[in-house]
């Protein structure tokens, strides 16, 4: 058994070139690789963080934004605990594409998934096309958390992933409290809740 209490899968999605790979690299390796090539298929990184004394392992799936990989990347949505939908604050096009991504989330992801909307590349101040409040409003309308980041300057990147990790940990602890130890007489009433969460954890 590995040394962690919770395991969460986080999937990054969004148009090609919005900086998904850079966000992941920044968080997992502390690097900003300039001239990052387009991701082929899906990349996979692991980072273990500590949330209030518990080791939490984050499995981060960095998906390709290009259309031709859609059928591969979509297969990862359902098992995700956290979804990060990224757009480029300097590109109206990537912002306009968000509704389509939300439709995909609706049709493929688990309905209880924790989703974040991320506006990346805030370091390119003058080139910004989407003001913060527009992104915020959009996120609010679709009941997502909103955060703006810069993978280049490492702004808010750790915060984004740690926020997700602590929210997911909190939810997991909450569910653990709701389900007491085994009680054979109670199986019928608890079945649903056991089944909906038991797959997420590794004790």
């Amino acid at each position: 058994m590995e040394d962690y209490k919770y395991l969460f899968k986080i999937v990054l999605i969004g148009e090609a070139g919005v900086g998904k790979t850079c966000l992941v690299r920044r968080f997992t390796q502390g690097l900003f690789p300039p001239g990052q090539a387009a991701t082929i298929g899906v990349d996979f990184m692991i980072k273990t963080v500590e949330i209030e004394g518990d080791k939490v392992k984050l499995q981060i799936w960095d998906t390709a934004g290009q259309e031709k990989f859609r059928s591969i990347t979509q297969s990862y949505y359902r098992a995700a605990h956290g979804l990060i939908l990224v757009y480029d604050v300097c590109s109206q096009r990537t912002f306009d594409a968000l509704p389509q991504w939300l439709t995909d989330i609706d049709s493929f992801a688990n309905e209880k998934v924790l989703s974040y909307l991320v506006g990346n590349k805030i370091d390119r101040g003058d080139a910004r096309e989407i003001p913060t409040h527009v992104g915020e409003q959009f996120a609010e309308r679709y009941e997502m958390k909103y955060i703006e980041t810069s993978a280049k300057e490492a702004d808010n990147v750790d915060k984004l992933f740690l926020d997700i990790a602590s929210r997911l940990t909190e939810d997991a602890r909450e569910r653990n409290r709701l389900i007491p130890g085994e009680d054979s007489m109670n199986i019928s009433s608890n079945t649903k809740s056991i089944s909906s969460c038991s797959r997420c954890f590794k004790f």
């Binding site: 031709k68 297969s75 199986i187």
Partner: protein, 743 residues
């Protein structure tokens, strides 16, 4: 002792003492004097010898002086000689380089003459050899000596050679082109070898590459045409004709690389193979594009993709024309083959180029840089891209195919007599396995991972949902007797209930078997992955591992269904059947006389009937449930019996004989249940057995023989207050005595 002190002496004894002392001193002095006189002779001898050696010393001094002057003279001489040798050496070196230069000049002359001669004779190898020699000379150095030597002639030589070099370049270029034109393979190779001698590495490889590419293009066009027109539907290979054709293309390129790699390495040096490969790859990209286009046309690929997309989008509407599963099956197999051939080919290219670079560069950093360049080249070539697009479509269609087939298996579900599970489990898992394995044979790691994810979704959601819904419908309750009665009265209705029962039981079995199947599927696929994907990067392996473990985790979801099903059964079968039997126990008195007791021995009031009824119930499920499920069923029945019986015991009243009767009944019951299970049941009855022990006591105090330090191997499952309560059930035990008991 001085004189003054002696003169001052007054006492006789003191005077005498002084005298004695003086005498002793005198003797000492005498002795000393004697020894000194004895040595006098030898000292005198030594003095004489010294006097004799004195003149010799003076001679030694003059000799030494002479020697010293001689040594310094020699040293000066040696110094002089060696400096001359050094000068000589320098002169010799200069002579050598001079000779070298003269030789170079002679060579130059020879080259100048030779080049012209060779050009005249059309001996281009020789001419190129001369030019190569000339190119290796340092022109500037030679020109420095121009003034000293016959100046103008050297200049002409250089001019002539430069001219010849240019001329040769033009000739080789045109001759090469002409040879290509006339398809003279020998001449092509001849001139291909001359390029590097003229320093035209890039040019030579490019020209040669273009020539090879053109040849490749002809062959590939012919093969494609053959494939398109020669499709014989009866031929076994017709369903994979495009995969076969692309394989031919890749094999041709591989052959070219194989044949020409040694040639390139010998004449052009290591590290230059990539120039040739890039040109060939360009042609390969062009051919692949053509082939994929034809593939899409002939196989109605785009139409099928569209159909699948539409069915996925509006899968509630049956009106939309669905692609035929059989056709889809064939098509999917061909796509997988196309991709796996491509992966194989690209891996070959990568290995060859990397190997070539490794020969050329020793520096680790440079190698890594080159290696990532190769990766980039291979990942971004059109052939890769085309395949990525195909695989993208493939995944969508394969998922659709898998879901359709699983749904079909569910729809065509049938229950064979004699089998505890119905056909949909085996069929569905077979389909899932088939689809994932097909994805595996594509060699695309991302494709496999995606299909593993989809397989999880189908098993966990679609397939499990079917089982869950069936289990939620519940097990039809009702007694055997009424059923038998119904069977006579209403044939139809009863068989409906029977059907519902059979379906519930088979679903329960299906879910239980699915747990195992998930784990088996995971192990099987794992084995296959480890065989097929041996050359994967760590990252790819981690991806595969993660997706595979999700398949294994599906088992838990099916276990939940089993548990839910059994909770349904507890409510509708176990409880209603156990309850009346336990009620009979409750209504049977355990406050009995001697006569009653003997009577019960002959005519059992409860337990025998209970066992018959239990045996009936267990027997009716034993054959229809899987082994694991049957064990689970027995364990639930046992749990129900113990809870109910405990409650009833606490509501009954006992006397000594009643306690004995209960103890007997319990033994028979435990004996029976032990005989129908493979695991130990006694533990479940521990509390009841202990109750029977208490109820069977002669008097209250006797309990202490079993309690506390006297309990021996027995572990009490009853609390002290429970023990008191049970003792209280014995009507012949006095309450004060029970209270007095120290527990």
């Amino acid at each position: 002792m001085d004189l003054e002190r002696v003169q001052n002496l007054t006492d006789v004894s003191e005077m005498q003492k002084a005298l004695e002392k003086l005498n002793a001193e005198e003797i000492d002095v005498d002795c000393e004097l004697n020894t000194l006189l004895e040595t006098q002779a030898s000292l005198e001898d030594k003095m004489i010898t010294l006097h004799r050696t004195l003149p010799n010393l003076q001679m030694l001094h003059t000799d030494s002086k002479q020697l010293s002057s001689m040594v310094s003279f020699t040293s000066t001489l040696a110094e002089n000689v060696s400096s001359k040798v050094r000068q000589l050496d320098l002169a010799k070196n200069r002579v050598t380089s001079c000779i070298q230069r003269v030789e170079d000049i002679l060579d130059l002359k020879y080259c100048t003459d030779g080049v012209q001669q060779a050009l005249q004779n059309e001996d281009y190898e020789k001419a190129a050899g001369h030019v190569h020699r000339f190119r290796s000379l340092d022109e500037n150095v030679l020109r420095m000596s121009e003034i000293a030597s016959e100046g103008s002639s050297l200049d002409t030589s250089f001019r002539l050679l430069h001219e010849s070099e240019d001329k040769l370049r033009v000739i080789v270029n045109t001759k090469f082109d002409a040879s290509v034109h006339s398809r003279d393979v020998a001449s092509i190779e001849r001139f291909f070898k001359i390029f590097p001698m003229l320093g035209l590495y890039e040019e030579g490889l490019t020209k040669f590459g273009k020539y090879l590419a053109a040849k490749l293009s002809e062959d590939a066009d012919r093969n494609l045409k053959l494939a398109l027109h020669g499709i014989d539907p009866e031929d076994g290979r017709s369903s994979v004709i495009f995969a076969d054709t692309i394989t031919k293309l890749f094999e041709d390129i591989a052959k070219i690389v194989e044949i020409h790699q040694p040639l390139v390495e010998t004449y052009y040096g290591a590290g230059r193979l990539v120039i040739l490969v890039k040109i060939l790859q360009k042609e390969c990209d062009r051919q692949t594009r053509k082939l994929v286009e034809e593939f899409r046309n002939k196989r109605d690929f785009d139409l099928r993709v569209q159909q699948v997309q539409q069915s996925l989008m509006f899968h509630k509407q049956p009106a939309i024309e669905k692609p035929d599963s059989k056709d889809l099956d064939v098509l999917l197999s061909e796509i997988v083959l196309l991709n796996t051939r491509t992966e194989l080919y690209l891996r070959f290219l990568k290995r060859r180029i990397t190997g070539d670079f490794e020969l050329a560069y020793q520096d680790e950093e440079k190698r890594n840089e080159k290696s990532s360049e190769v990766d980039k080249f291979i990942q971004s070539c059109d052939t890769s891209r085309l395949m990525q697009e195909l695989i993208g479509n493939y995944i969508m269609m394969e998922e659709y195919f898998m879901r359709e087939m699983v749904l079909k298996a569910v729809a065509m579900d049938s229950l064979d007599t004699g089998s505890p599970t119905s056909s949909m489990v085996d069929d569905s898992f077979y389909i899932v396995k088939k689809c994932v394995r097909r994805a595996m044979s594509s060699s695309s790691v991302d494709g496999v991972c995606a299909m593993l994810n989809h397989a999880c979704t189908i098993l966990e959601q679609d397939f499990r949902e079917v089982l869950y819904t069936r289990v939620r419908a519940g097990f039809p309750s009702g007694f055997d007797l009424t059923q038998a009665y119904n069977m006579v009265i209403q044939q139809g209705k009863s068989s409906d209930t029977e059907k519902a029962k059979a379906q519930f039981i088979s679903t329960l079995n299906n879910a239980e078997v699915s747990c195992d199947y998930c784990k088996q599927l995971k192990t099987n696929l794992e084995d296959e992955v480890s065989k097929l994907y041996t050359q994967c990067s760590d990252q790819s392996n981690a991806k595969l591992e993660s997706c595979l473990s999700d398949i294994g985790a599906c088992a838990t979801r099916f276990k939940d269904v089993v548990e839910f099903g059994f909770s349904q059964m507890t409510q509708s079968v176990i409880k209603p059947r156990i309850k009346p039997q336990i009620d009979i126990f409750l209504s049977t008195s355990h406050n009995i006389s001697e006569d009653d007791y003997t009577n019960f021995e002959a005519n059992d009031p409860w337990v025998q009937n209970f066992i018959v009824s239990l045996d009936n119930m267990l027997g009716s499920f034993k054959d229809s449930l899987t082994n694991n499920n049957y064990e689970m069923f027995v364990s639930l029945v046992t749990a129900e019996i113990t809870t109910q019986l405990e409650k009833s015991v606490q509501k009954s009243a006992f006397n000594r004989l009643g306690g004995l009767q209960f103890d007997k009944e319990l033994r028979v019951l435990v004996g029976y249940l032990t005989s129908v299970t493979t695991w130990t049941i006694r533990d479940k009855f521990a509390r009841l057995t202990q109750m029977a022990t208490i109820l069977n006591l002669e008097k209250v105090d006797e309990l202490l023989d079993y309690w506390g330090p006297n309990s021996g191997p027995l572990t009490w499952r009853l609390t002290p207050s429970e023990v008191r309560q049970i003792l209280g059930l014995r009507i012949d035990f006095r309450t004060e005595e029970i209270k007095r008991l120290k527990l």
